[in-house]
């Protein structure tokens, strides 16, 4: 693909660009799903294309095409320049990029089993066995399962001399059991809701998840929810399981720290942020127990936000975001780093596929586990009265990332250190910084899981991105519970 990039860079340079980069991307996806004993989706998709990003007259232009012939590539580069010149008509200042030593590198996701090497028959057999197990429970009216594999190979080249070849692999798997009775539909999912668990890993993830082993329990819980009491309303102490805490992090930490949001660049769609530049290293984001990092390095784990280099050639890094409760870091890019006094980008510019403009996205935004050994069982045992909530069912937050409301699939009331009853339709709400400042305990490493959110939406035109969120179960004091159902 080097020749493709060179055609584009030369065509751009000839038209007076001060900077240009080219991404050639080849994607492959396999998606399999079953529903109530039948295969639903069965598809194999590939998409190949290239895009050119340029700066001309101090303004950005971007163009993308699925055609990789020389004429088409040069025309795409020319189109990017035309777009940039139009951008320059409405600007207030020139684009300024933080310097980055151009990297020449190869990187690929480590894996043990190539998921595409597993036969489709084996995939379907697994899904249907899970389906059978789910529907063996009386009261289950709908069972859904899914397996997804993605490979993305990218060649990044820039006019500064960067030349990076990266291959990322991801695997996703999960299922949901629904029980409809009377005037209620209850649902339980495993290992997580809305598509399951996703990591940048091979098929070994599917073995690790023990999907079949948990199916009956999950189905039984879906049915049992019908007989459970409605989650009480009021102010309670709250324990969130690891997966729900992962989503809480995504919505109320990951998004507000995106520097482009803070700078107003997402105002028309995804919104802005309650964070302002002056709050960095001054604002108490959470209690002393709250330590959050944005870590794209492989050492952090095989999260959906793990890579070798971002999509403008900056190496993966770890940025402390919240340190003992103090707000200490933003997600930044080459264009935005200077606004927070940084000399280098934080390496978070990412794009979905070949035809989308890279923008600041979460990498792996994770809360660090507690240093002292603490299991979930021990956390529960140390709690007088609380509601434990597991597995997300609904999520909503305002456009500055302040007021949120989450609903979960299942809850448990804890009294005197024991789970005493199951509760249904649990929900909770709050204000971001008040919530994080109420955290008074977090479980340790043994309870920590690096969850994957495969479909975070942002940008215009919209694009989706996989993000990772590591979390252990944690406890929060005096949280408003049940607000979704107050009447």
């Amino acid at each position: 693909m080097k020749h493709v990039a060179n055609w584009a860079l030369n065509a751009a340079s000839a038209r007076g660009t001060s900077y240009a980069d080219v991404r050639v991307v080849a994607q492959r996806n396999r998606a399999l799903a079953t529903k109530n004993g039948k295969v639903g989706s069965a598809s194999d998709a590939e998409s190949v294309g290239m895009s050119v990003r340029v700066i001309v007259d101090g303004a950005w232009g971007f163009a993308a095409s699925s055609e990789l012939g020389r004429g088409a590539v040069e025309a795409t580069a020319a189109r990017a320049v035309e777009v940039a010149r139009a951008s320059a008509r409405v600007k207030r200042g020139d684009v300024r990029l933080a310097p980055e030593k151009p990297a020449v590198a190869e990187w690929s996701t480590p894996y043990e089993i190539d998921p595409f090497s597993i036969s489709v028959e084996q995939n379907i057999d697994l899904l249907l066995r899970i389906d059978t197990e789910l529907r063996a429970v009386s009261g289950i009216t709908l069972a859904e399962t899914n397996l997804n594999f993605n490979r993305e190979e990218q060649w990044f080249t820039s006019s500064e001399g960067a030349d990076i070849h990266q291959t990322k692999l991801s695997t996703g798997a999960g299922y949901a059991a629904y029980a409809f009775a009377g005037n209620e539909i209850q649902k339980r999912s495993y290992p997580n809701s809305f598509g399951g668990q996703w990591q940048n890993k091979g098929y070994e993830l599917v073995h690790e998840l023990k999907l079949l082993k948990n199916a009956r329990r999950i189905a039984e819980e879906a049915v049992a929810l019908h007989k459970a009491d409605q989650c009480p309303e009021g102010t309670f102490n709250l324990i969130l399981d690891s997966s729900q805490l992962g989503l809480q992090i995504h919505e109320s930490i990951g998004h507000p720290i995106e520097l482009d949001r803070v700078l107003g660049m997402e105002a028309n769609f995804a919104g802005t942020s309650f964070l302002t530049l002056d709050k960095l290293r001054k604002m108490r984001y959470g209690s002393d127990f709250v330590n959050v990092v944005a870590d794209a390095t492989q050492q952090h784990g095989p999260g959906l936000g793990t890579f070798g280099f971002d999509d403008e050639g900056v190496a993966a890094q770890c940025t402390p975001i919240i340190t003992n409760g103090l707000f200490t870091g933003y997600l930044s890019s080459r264009e935005t780093a200077h606004t927070i006094g940084e000399k280098r980008s934080g390496g978070t510019l990412r794009a979905e596929g070949w035809n989308r403009l890279p923008m600041i996205r979460m990498t792996n935004i994770s809360i660090l586990p507690g240093k002292k050994p603490l299991s979930l069982a021990e956390l529960i045992a140390s709690t007088d009265h609380a509601i434990l909530m597991q597995t997300n069912r609904s999520w909503s937050i305002d456009d500055k990332r302040y007021n949120f409301q989450f609903g979960c699939e299942i809850g448990w009331e804890i009294k005197n250190g024991k789970c005493v009853r199951m509760v249904k339709n649990p929900s909770y709400s709050g204000i971001t910084t008040e919530f994080w400042n109420s955290m008074d305990a977090i479980c340790s490493r043994d309870e920590w899981t690096l969850w994957g959110t495969p479909n975070c939406g942002k940008g215009q035109p919209q694009q989706v991105m996989g993000t990772g969120h590591g979390a252990s179960p944690a406890r929060f004091r005096k949280i408003k519970v049940g607000s979704a159902f107050q009447n």
Binding site: S66, L263, N268
Partner: protein, 464 residues
């Protein structure tokens, strides 16, 4: 852009490469460009072209799909091979029907729907320079009012087509131009969005001035307590709420018992003033006139005067429902041309929603004048389903929320979170405007009115 004749040639090549009993090929793609602005500057500006071919092969009762965006011989050979390999290992689906031919797709009971052209050269002629000029004028409005503006101006030309081995051939081309504008003051904001196939129908200055006025009028917002209020919802706010129920107007959703309409078809669940149709031919609608198998879309009355009349069906869903124990409880069963491309597990969905006007439509100004105390909502944001059977939704107000007192807009107010059931909301609509083509962010474009709704449940207030 791919032309129909070119697609036909590609289909012929694919068919020759395939050993399957049946072949169905989808084509999609086009040219898309978007100029994005923020802080009164164009900060992102993109252009894209793409063409996709998606091949479904059928061996008896087994089917699968493979997709590529490469059209050379090797790539077409590979995509056929992928589809066939995947199809041969599927479990047989006894509900799988043969691909339709053109005559069968029309059906004996189907009325012929004429869809107006949705392709305009005025839109295809828009260049990056013209979009930049449009943004410049929007920025001037912002500068004039001392506001900060953000938004998009986009244009698209797209195609969609289906060919199959029984001779069915469908093709649709369309253009779409869209402008979305946010205007921001120190502690307030306003928003407007519109799109049409013909860019000439867009009035960027009117959108800019309206958004600006909302930002100015909602400055220094007061905080009201949470509670139940009479609300006047502008069309985008209505659209983004009601959009959450249309996935349930599906035969498969009824069969799967995941629809909130289970046990409710034929029953009155909304107010008398709610009548909803799916109508791809409506002059204010967009989209292709055929579904994922090439079956032409019917006009389907979904709700009449609050009574749920029908749901939509793909071909095989209709066949399944006719054999189901639910068949006598779900109204008319027929293939309506709303199926998603096969294979899928979700069946079908209405995508061309049109709300009927009432006998006495009211303008938003008239609704405001008739309101002793209430809240005017420009739009909602981050709506999610909390409870599926009562269709309880949660979300936030955004970009222009106002207190109405004694028939007048008094001031801006801090944004609310709501938790409200669509069943309750659509049973408490006091008055509606004439429906108009509207666009939001949480659901697809529709023809919907503004609505004055009583007892709307705001449960919390945010900090701005």
């Amino acid at each position: 852009m791919l032309k129909r004749e070119q697609a036909g040639d590609i289909f012929d090549r694919i068919r020759k490469l395939s050993t399957a009993d049946e072949v169905e090929v989808h084509f999609s793609g086009g040219d898309f460009a978007l100029t994005r602005f923020a802080n009164n500057t164009i900060h992102q500006n993109v252009a894209e072209e793409n063409r996709v071919v998606s091949v479904r092969t059928v061996f008896g009762e087994r089917t699968a799909r493979a997709t590529t965006n490469k059209f050379d011989d090797d790539s077409l050979r590979q995509v056929v091979k992928s589809s066939e390999s995947l199809a041969k290992v599927q479990h047989p689906d006894p509900d799988l029907l043969p691909v339709p031919d053109a005559k069968e797709a029309l059906g004996s009971e189907r009325e012929s729907i004429l869809v107006p052209s949705r392709h305009f050269e005025e839109t295809t002629n828009i260049t990056p320079e013209i979009r930049a000029h449009g943004v410049k004028r929007i920025v001037h409005v912002a500068d004039h009012h001392k506001l900060t503006t953000a938004g998009v101006f986009s244009t698209a030309e797209s195609f969609e087509g289906i060919f199959n081995s029984r001779g069915l051939s469908q093709w649709h081309i369309q253009t779409l131009a869209e402008i979305s504008i946010s205007m921001m003051a120190g502690d307030s904001s306003g928003w407007q969005k519109a799109n049409f196939p013909n860019v000439a129908n867009l009035d960027p200055m009117k959108l800019a001035e309206t958004a600006a006025q909302k930002a100015l009028d909602s400055a220094h917002p007061r905080e009201l307590p949470a509670g139940k209020y009479t609300v006047i919802l502008e069309p985008s706010a209505v659209l983004d709420m009601v959009g959450f129920m249309f996935f349930d107007y599906s035969g498969v959703a009824i069969l799967d018992q995941r629809s909130f309409l289970t046990g409710r078809i034929g029953k009155k669940i909304f107010g008398d003033n709610i009548t909803i149709t799916d109508d791809v031919s409506h002059p204010l609608q967009t989209g292709s006139p055929f579904d994922g198998e090439g079956v032409p879309r019917c006009r389907v009355p979904l709700v009449e005067k609050g009574v749920v009349k029908r749901v939509v069906y793909a071909r095989s869903t209709a066949a399944r429902m006719r054999k189901s124990e639910l068949r006598d409880t779900v109204g008319r069963i027929e293939s309506t041309g709303h199926g998603f491309p096969l294979p899928n597990e979700i069946g079908e969905m209405p995508l061309n929603i049109v709300f009927a006007s009432t006998d006495q439509p009211r303008t938003i100004e008239e609704m405001i004048r008739s309101t002793a105390k209430g809240v005017l909502v420009t739009r909602f944001w981050y709506i999610r389903e909390v409870e599926p059977f009562e269709k309880m939704l949660t979300g936030m107000t955004r970009d222009g929320t106002f207190l109405i007192e004694n028939g007048r807009v008094q001031c801006g107010i801090r944004n609310f979170r709501f938790n409200e059931s669509l069943l309750h909301m659509l049973s408490n609509v006091e008055s509606m405007s004439m429906p108009s083509r509207s666009s939001g962010e949480e659901s697809f474009d529709m023809v919907v009115p503004a609505m004055k709704v009583n007892d709307f449940n705001f449960t919390e207030v945010t900090k701005f």
